[in-house]
Amino acid sequence: MIAPPLKVQNLTMRYHQAQPVLKSVSFEIPQGHTVAIIGPNGAGKSTLLKGVMGLAPLVSGQVSMFGHPLEKNRLSVAYVPQRDESDWDFPIQVMDVVLMGRQGHLRFWQRPSASDRTLAEEALNQLGMLDYKDRQISQLSGGQQQRVFLARALVQQAELYLMDEPFAGVDMKTEKAIIDLFGRLKQANKTIVCVHHDLNTVADYFDWVVLVNRGVIASGPVNAVMTPEKIQQAFGGGFSMMPSTSAKEVKHG
């Protein structure tokens, strides 16, 4: 039995307030799946991802990746932060952002090598961003910025990818590029875990779901988790699975 890419046991997190944001969260993710973490606003989805990555403090609980704590295999875990948590006015070019994905492989005095650059160019090419490699990041659209961050994660050559809302506010072209990327990573038996906000697309993009609302409501294959009862349990009453199409168009516009 191979250790799962991600195993979370009894994880509890809180910020300044007395009430925990997440309480006794436990779930396990099998290898080679594309996983959506879904739940209502304020359910603690991003917090959960940050806790797993050691970016926010845990009150209690254990996280293991491939059977080891995060410190043992940081390089096998690539994290893609939410797009609006970055400084897009920073004076830096696309290529240099992507090469940051190699930082964990380099000593502090080392510069990226020619093979690192080749990797970065391949990653940019896969996401349709190679033509933009010398652009300053402030000149990119939101979707293009997201693709640069995905290319950065890709050059890390990780086994597990943790992404915070990669589909949020991106254009159709980027959406397609991300889905293609998911397909290729899945084929290579990599595991992808995304915080996701759009219930309508869960079944299209993902094959596994962790349903969260301050605790795990359900975790398993999409068909088993995305039932009206469980959705209602997480999101509360009066929630409709089918928002009007106009709302969806606005999002892509």
Binding site: P81, D87, P91, Q93, D96, M100, G104
Partner: protein, 292 residues
């Protein structure tokens, strides 16, 4: 004539050091922390005077770095208090440290060869009078050599850890996720700020050093498209500020350090206005081309 050259050379080195570390302070939005460290460092210098019973460059640097790091750590620690905002905690710490330094200077005026005026505003015009004597010969002003050493240290450190500094400035969270020790590199940068401030004290004093840390780097931020070009632009703005400021001081017979800071501000303003002018021109041009 010779003393003019020493003054200019010292000012250029001091301004360059400030510009280089200032780039990272500006990018990390930590200008206030730079301000804080530059003030707290005074206490370190005063304590080193009292402990060594006189002036010792090494003791001064050690004292300054310790006080600088203490300030940065205390600010971070106080920020964790849920009711204290970060600017409040930084403001409290450095003003108290600075005040304590000033009190000690006035109490031990006999033992400390430091003048309150000089500490606040610096007096670069006096730099050539305090020279290093080696083998019976004058080797040039003490402040110049101190500024040169600190400048070389800054250039070397930034050249070596460039990739880590850039990652930490661009995205500290990502840096942590990649396994980079952000606290360690942050501490190194704060040590650089402290050292740079000590080297600048004789020349420009505690107040104006902040201008040199923040203003050339901010001007560079407006025009640069990469971190390397930003560092080069910051150095350029720093040199130009020194040259124009010195000219202004000679012309008006005014304080040199203050004139340099004034010119740094004028250059920043000019850059902003120039960029807005260009923006308007290109907007007009695109409107005109749409009309056709």
């Amino acid at each position: 004539m010779m003393s003019d050259i020493w003054i200019l050379a010292t000012a250029c080195l001091v301004a360059s050091s400030c510009a280089l570390v200032g780039v990272f302070l500006v990018l990390r939005r930590q200008s206030l922390l730079g301000d804080a460290i530059s003030h707290s460092v005074l206490l370190g210098i005063v304590l080193s005077y009292l402990m060594m019973d006189g002036r010792s460059e090494i003791a001064m640097m050690v004292g300054a770095v310790i006080m600088g790091l203490l300030t940065a750590w205390l600010a971070e620690w106080l920020q964790k208090h849920p009711l204290l905002k970060s600017d409040v905690s930084i403001g409290m710490i450095f003003t108290s440290f600075f005040a304590l330094g000033v009190v000690l200077i006035s109490v031990y005026a006999g033992q400390i060869d430091l003048d309150q005026e000089c500490v606040l505003y610096g007096e670069i015009a006096f730099v050539p009078f305090d020279t290093v004597i080696w083998g019976g010969e004058s080797m040039g002003p003490r402040a110049f050599w101190l500024a040169l050493v600190v400048f070389l240290v800054n250039v070397s450190v930034i050249a070596v850890v460039f990739e880590r500094y850039r990652l930490m400035a661009f995205h500290p969270v990502l840096a942590v996720a990649l396994g980079v020790s952000v606290p360690m590199w942050h501490t190194l940068l704060m040590a650089q700020v402290s050292l740079t401030t000590v080297a600048s004290f004789d020349a420009v004093g505690a107040i104006l050093v902040v201008a040199l840390l923040v203003i050339p780097a901010s001007s560079a931020y407006l025009v640069a498209t990469s971190l390397k070009t930003m560092l080069v632009w910051a150095l350029g703005y720093a040199q130009l500020s020194v040259l124009l400021g010195y000219g202004l001081a000679v012309w008006l017979d005014s304080a040199i350090a203050a004139s340099i800071a004034v010119m740094a501000g004028v250059l920043l303003l000019a850059t902003i206005l120039f960029q807005q002018l260009i923006q308007k021109q290109s907007q007009k041009a695109s409107l005109a081309s749409e009309a056709h």
